[in-house]
């Protein structure tokens, strides 16, 4: 049953009512998640990544309006699910690891107890001793040293990075089918981050876990993702396998994002993206990235580009792919990097 789609988001649009008008945060997002794979959502701050997955978890803010779309999971549309339905899904079926680890922990409950409670939720018959043993193992597996002693400490006695590891241990203790990680490693050191990425990759393989991974670090994406969705101004502007996005990026925004990040070989001037993302109360017509794209075509400012198919797995919404459009020149930094990657292989 590989290749089985377990979650499917279709044409999802979400707005927020604000004093200044409706913020069009998510505009027609579609993506699938298959069993055992990791799908990444990347993009600039404010592009709608968190709002998209909050909709999946049924935890949108009160001023949110779902304008259209469906989120199919377990044979039903989660958009129509009641809060009661969600209680049997959140945590046990779909786990969530947040950007901010503090809000996810109970400040007055010992760390160990918070993990054993989660274990008990998925295995009510587990003995006290077994729960403790399993919790300590989980703590060790997320890189908390001296776990046996730390079991009896409170969150305030942990550093930010260690709290984030506890949050991950708690999410894993419920043994979910889907794990959604919203920038889980942004606040962590590279060494700790690497350990957590390895851990997530390992567990994914062991348990056939499916993962939705949100980040704006393209290095992290390269590590975890099987498939990648690139978001800009509320839309997925490009989707493809990791190789396709990194080696054949087609949308000017994807190219710019990749070219803006130095790797350990970079010596050329970085390509920066001028300007700022658009105001989503008045989303620009046409391609939302056009005003920041030096190679934008006239039509980019007028008409929204459809998805052009590049391969069975690779699509991009950019007029640059129209047969009549002039060929898009990739930024030099990126061209050099891609040549290097291909050479190594």
């Amino acid at each position: 049953m590989d290749n089985e789609t377990i979650l499917s988001v279709n044409d999802l649009s979400i707005s927020f009512k604000t004093l200044n008008g409706m913020v069009r945060a998510v505009r027609g997002v579609s993506f699938d998640l298959k069993r055992g794979e990791t799908v990444a959502i990347v993009g600039e701050s404010g592009s709608g990544k968190s709002v998209t997955i909050k909709a999946v978890m049924g935890i949108l803010a009160g001023n949110a309006v779902i304008d259209s779309g469906s989120i199919m999971y377990g044979g039903r549309d989660l958009i129509k699910a009641s809060e009661k339905d969600y209680q049997s899904i959140r945590g046990s079926k779909i786990g969530l690891i947040f950007q901010d680890p503090l809000s996810a922990l109970n400040p007055i409950m010992k760390i160990g107890r918070q993990i054993t409670e989660a274990l008990r939720l998925s295995d009510p018959k587990i003995s006290r001793a077994d729960a403790r043993k399993k919790a300590v193992e989980l703590m060790e597996s997320v890189g908390i040293t001296d776990a046996d002693r730390r079991f009896d400490q409170y969150p305030f006695q942990f550093s930010g990075g260690m709290r984030q590891r506890v949050v991950i241990a708690i999410a894993l203790a419920r043994d979910p089918e889907i794990l959604i990680c919203d920038e889980p490693t942004t606040a962590l050191d590279v060494t700790v981050q690497a350990r957590i990425l390895d851990l997530i990759n390992e567990i994914k393989q062991e348990r056939k876990l499916s993962v939705i991974f949100i980040t704006h670090d393209m290095g992290v994406v390269a590590n975890v993702a099987d498939r990648i969705n690139v978001m800009y101004a509320g839309k997925i502007v490009e989707k493809g396998t990791a190789d396709e996005i990194f080696l054949e990026p087609a949308h000017p925004y994807t190219q710019a994002l990749l070219a803006a990040m130095p790797d350990l070989e970079t010596s050329e001037r970085l390509m920066s993206i001028p300007g700022t993302p658009p105001n989503m109360i008045f989303p620009p017509k046409g391609d939302a990235f056009a005003e920041r794209n030096a190679h934008a075509l006239e039509i980019d400012f007028e008409e929204e580009p459809p998805y052009f198919k590049i391969s069975d797995t690779h699509y991009a919404a950019t007029w640059a792919l129209h047969p009549k459009a002039p060929k898009l020149e990739m930024p030099e930094v990126l061209r050099n990097r891609i040549a290097r990657i291909k050479e190594e292989a």
Binding site: E44, S45, S159, G160, G161, L188, D189, V190, T191, V192, Q193, A194, R195, L197, D198, H216, D217, M218, G219, V220, V221, A222, N223, A225, A242, D243, F246, A256, L257, L258, A259, A260, M261, P262, D263, L264, T266, S267, R269, L270, M271, S272, I273, P274, T276, R337, I341, E344, A345
Partner: protein, 315 residues
């Protein structure tokens, strides 16, 4: 630049910074900086990396004397700056060393306009004439890519990258000799990070700046720095020219750190073996005290003789 021609701007010797909190049995001591020595030369970018809490910010703050170091000496332009604080020394420091802070939002006063924020330093700097100050400020804003119109606006009206430009303008307007940039791009989106890095690079060339660049993104540090020091728990464990450090990382912590840097290359990432650092296992204990050894010209590693032998074999 050949090593002989270099002029040290800042010389730090045996710098120590200990924080104590609590009393009696609950007393806790943190060796935030544990006996570090290094120099920063005129015109270079000196990168300082290491994991969270290893003492990077504390090092920057000790240099501008926001903290009184527990031990060691520091000289700036040949003058000792680690002695007792006087008004005159404070003045000397603020005239010559500026800091750019990590968080572009928290570090700007929300009630001041951009012009007022950038101008503030100039007032202390003794530029008395308001018209002259205004001219200098607008000139500086233009250098960081902000216009006259931006000058009368407040920080909350700006994007993260623009705010960081304001912070840079504020740091540069007094024409300091040394800029301490404490994670100036960590809080920014990748696309905006690139704007700020390019800007710092241009200004560095144009104004002949010397920069101490603190960060934990090793790709950015390598891209930006002339030499890089790696710090672990308050101790500089390796120091080398940037290229050299990345080509021949020797200290097991440096090796672990480099093996963990995420790279935008899915083929590499998917088969990558990461090293972990275990201070209890990755060293040879002979009883001999460790110190900085120059294993190759300009390349220093903190070790004992037995480890030095081992590292030589890695070269």
């Amino acid at each position: 630049m050949m090593p002989e021609e270099r002029v040290p701007l800042l010389e730090v010797e045996h710098l120590k910074m200990t924080f104590t909190s609590g009393k009696g049995a609950k007393k806790v001591t943190v060796n935030a900086i544990n006996d570090n020595s290094f120099s920063i030369y005129e015109g270079e970018t000196f990168g300082l990396v290491g994991e969270s809490g290893c003492g990077k910010t504390t090092t920057g703050r000790a240099i501008i004397r926001l903290y009184d170091p527990t031990g060691g000496t520091m000289r700036f332009m040949g003058r000792e700056i680690s002695g007792p604080m006087t008004r005159e020394l404070r003045r000397f420091l603020t005239d010559n060393i500026s800091m750019i802070f990590q968080d572009p939002i928290d570090s700007l006063n929300p009630r001041m306009t951009v012009e007022e924020i950038v101008e503030e330093g100039l007032k202390y700097h003794g530029v008395k004439d308001p018209a002259e100050r205004r001219e200098i400020v607008l000139d500086m804003l233009a250098k960081v890519g902000l216009t006259k119109e931006h000058a009368s606006r407040y920080p909350h009206e700006f994007s993260g990258g623009q705010r960081q430009r304001v912070g840079i303008a504020r740091a540069l307007v007094v024409k300091p000799k040394l800029i301490i940039a404490d994670e100036p791009v960590s809080a920014l989106d990748v696309s905006i990070q690139a704007q700020v890095i390019n800007l710092l690079n241009d200004l560095k060339k144009e104004l002949g700046l010397t920069i101490m660049f603190i960060a934990h993104d090793l790709s950015v540090v390598k891209y930006f720095s002339t030499r890089v020091a790696v710090m672990y728990y308050g101790k500089i464990v390796e120091l080398a020219p940037s290229e050299e450090l990345y080509r021949h990382p020797l200290h097991p912590y440096t090796r672990a750190l480099l093996s963990a840097v995420p790279q935008p290359n899915p083929r590499l990432e998917k088969r990558r073996q990461r090293l972990s650092y275990d201070p209890a296992k990755d060293h040879i204990e002979t009883g001999e005290e460790r110190r900085m050894h120059e294993i190759l010209p300009e390349h220093f590693v903190y070790c004992n003789s037995a480890e030095l032998e081992k590292y030589r074999e890695l070269l």
